[in-house]
Every structure is written in C-alpha cells, then in structure tokens.
C-alpha cells in the first residue's frame, strides 16, 4: 500500500516544497479572498440582517474566485519546463501523480481559505453555529473546487488566453458546489438543518475525487502530444 502511494506522497511533497519557495503566490490568493470578503460589507452598508443573509454566499463566491486565481499555474510551469513529460513517462501511475498535485493545490489554496473563513464570518454577524456550518461546508467544498478546476486547467493547458477560457469553462461547473455549500447555512437558519446540503456536498466531493484526477490526466496526455 505504501509502495502504491509513495509516488502520490512524493508528488504532494514536491509541490508543497515548490509552494514554500513561492510564498507570494499563497499569500496573494489568501489576501484576495480576505479583501473581496471585506469589500462586501463596506459596499452594502452596515445592516446586520442583510449581512447575515448574504454572508454564506459572499464567502463562498470569494473562495471560488480565490481558487480560480492560482488554478492557471497548476500545470503550466510543469508543462513549460518538461516536468509534465517526465511525469507522463514515469512507470508510476500518472493519474496518482496528478492527484498528488491536486491535493497539494488544495493544501496551498483551499485550506488557508477554510481556516480564515470563520474569522471573516464574524464581521457578517454570523452566530457560532452558522460559522461552524459554513466552515464545514467550505472544508467539504474547496477540495471540489480544486478537483474540478484541475480538469479545466488541464484542458486549457497550452491554449493562448487560457486564463479567461478557464474561468468560462470552470465557473459554471462550480454552481452545484456553490448552491449546496452556501445553502447549508441558509437551510440551517430556516430551521431545516444543514445535514441534507452537507451530505450532497460530500457526495459531490467523492464523485469528483474519483473522476477528476483521471479526466485531468487524459486531458494532460492530449496536451503533451
């Protein structure tokens, strides 16, 4: 088992080490998230009821945009310097190596967003319980964003103007995650309980974790031709 997973772990380690050498990239995405979330209360005005209502959606949309920010660089540098070729020629499963890269992307881009979200939620006057549900929904949802995003990044690899294309391709696919993620808090506030939404979000996560690395690998092989 550990032999099977070893290339996966190596791939995660390598991308984390690279991210550690490029700290600005991590910080940029995180600050983007913080600033967008902060702009909303300033623009909308200090009405606690309204803020409480838009909070889940605002945080979710900001998380979505922050993920999109670093997505273009998920495969592009490895494609440019030939690392992707070596990965495709590895006797280990290319899909596992790609899955490792996606996990590393989530650890770098998604996890900080999840961790800082409760703090930002405070300024929207969310209750403790709502903050908890929001954090859980982001914890389940941000990996979906990385997984689906990886498919888009692989499909647009090497295409000119891939940034805009990537957004057009990926944002519609984020809709289910957005609906169930942001909806969990609203459902709870309406007295329905968050379980249904969170279960659907978890199901989405399982499905995308199963298919996305594989689809991204197929797209990468085409891009390498």
């Amino acid at each position: 088992m550990s032999r099977f997973l070893s290339p996966f772990i190596q791939s995660v380690r390598r991308d984390l080490l690279l991210a550690a050498r490029h700290k600005t990239e991590i910080v940029t995405a995180l600050f983007f998230f913080v600033i967008v979330v902060n702009l909303l209360p300033l623009g909308i005005g200090p009405d606690p009821d309204l803020l409480r209502k838009i909070a889940p959606g605002a945080l979710w949309i900001s998380a979505l945009l922050a993920t999109l920010l670093g997505l273009q660089r998920l495969f592009a540098p490895d494609h440019a310097d030939g690392t992707l070729e070596q990965m495709a020629l590895s006797p280990q499963s290319f899909t596992l190596l790609v899955a490792g890269k996606i996990l590393a992307h989530w650890l770098v881009a998604g996890l900080p967003v999840v961790l800082i979200a409760p703090v930002l939620g405070l300024q929207f006057d969310l209750s403790g319980r709502s903050l908890l549900i929001l954090t859980v929904s982001l914890l389940l949802g941000t990996p979906i964003l990385s997984l689906i995003g990886a498919v888009g990044a692989a499909l647009t690899l090497g295409v000119r103007g891939s940034g805009a294309l990537l957004s057009l391709l990926i944002l519609p696919l984020y809709i289910p995650a957005l609906i169930f993620g942001a909806g969990a808090v609203e459902a709870d506030l309406a007295g329905l309980g968050p379980d249904g939404h969170l279960s659907l979000l978890a199901a989405l996560l399982v499905v995308s974790a199963f298919f996305a690395p594989w689809v991204a690998t197929v797209a990468l092989r085409v891009a390498l031709e």
Binding site: Q10, R13, L18, G82, L89, P91, S93, L224
Partner: protein
C-alpha cells in the same frame, strides 16, 4: 529489443517521415541524424510514448508499447530538450524529488555522489537558477547514474557540455551498452562512441 515498423509521423499537413522501420538490439546504439526540423525530436517523442504516430507499430521486447505502457516506462529513461528542472529547487532536491515521483527512492548520499561525478562539487545546495546551461545539463544527466533503465532515449545529450563532460558522458554511454543496455540519441556533434546504427530522416 526495440523494434519499429512502418512508422509515419505527421505534423499538421506536413508528413515528417513515413514507413520508417528499424530494430535496435541490446548493447547497440542508434543515432538519428537529420537536418533541423527533419523530425528527430518528433521521432524520439513517439518512441518514448509521449505522442502517437499516425501509423506504425513500436514494440519493446516483443510486446507493443502502447498496451503495456508502465512496463515499458520502467525500462525507459528519456531526456528531452527541456530540462525538467525546477529553478527554485537545488540540484539535490530536483534529483531526489523527480526520481521519487518515478518510484525510485534515491538517498541524498547517492544523489550527492552522482553530482560530484558530473563535476558539480559545491553546487549541490545552490538553487538551479544560479547554474549555467552546461551545469543544468549535467544535473539532468545525473539521472543516468541514479535511475536504472535498459533503454536510454537522449535528445541532444551533448548540447552545452564542455569537453570534459562530453568525455564522461561518452564513457557512461559505453558502459551502459557493455552492460546490455541500448540507447537512441540525436546529436549534431561528432561523438567518440563505438560504431552504432544510424537512421537518417
């Protein structure tokens, strides 16, 4: 043994080569000659399995490469034009991490020794972006020492190397051939290797 039959490669509208057949037995090396743009790199990429030929068949030890990709890639070491080196990592990290992803856990000592053999004393912990083109090439060539493989496919391996490194690499290829390995390479330089096969595109 690598055998290729009736290979055709097309780039856009242009047919680069067609009906190309050859066999490369063990302990032999093959030079692919041809002018710039003749399709040497395209051929190497097809041989390694990175791109698909329009037509033709490649087998490794009797089994088609496409059907058993992982077994073929376990025997294959491909060094392309691009470095596959990360500028922000040190040579040591580059080697151990890239080989780790291929399932070869190389100890730091072994990687250090390979770097020393290629004359990179004192550069082991320097980020690759501070190295010259020739030094980067040497880091890349360290893979030949660290990763066991029976078939080497090398695209312009002598580029940017000085006389000393060219000599070392030639001896390395000779040893590889003596031990029953085989190699395919392209080069515009004259080489001091034992006589091998040649395909001109």
């Amino acid at each position: 043994m690598l055998s290729v039959s009736h290979l055709t490669c097309q780039r856009g509208e242009r047919v680069l080569f067609q009906d190309l057949s050859f066999e490369l037995p063990e302990s032999q090396w093959l030079q692919i000659a041809g002018a710039n743009g003749a399709g040497k790199t395209s051929l190497l990429r097809i041989l390694s399995g990175l791109s698909e030929p329009v037509d033709g068949r490649i087998t490794w030890n009797g089994s088609p490469v496409r059907e058993d990709r992982e077994a073929f890639h376990a025997d294959l070491l491909y060094l392309g034009h691009q470095g596959a080196l990360k500028e922000e990592l040190t040579p040591l990290e580059n080697l151990t991490l890239s080989l780790g992803m291929e399932g070869f856990n190389v100890s730091e000592d072994a990687a250090m020794q390979a770097l020393h053999q290629f004359g990179l004393h004192g550069r082991e912990h320097l980020p690759v972006r501070f190295l010259s083109a020739g030094q980067r090439r040497r880091v890349l060539l360290c893979r030949l020492l660290l990763r066991p493989a029976r078939l080497w496919i090398l695209d312009e391996p002598f580029t940017a190397l000085d006389v000393h490194a060219i000599g070392f690499l030639s001896r390395l290829i000779e040893t590889h051939l003596r031990e029953g390995g085989s190699a395919v390479l392209t080069s515009h330089q004259s080489m001091t290797l034992p006589p091998g096969l040649c395909v001109t595109l």
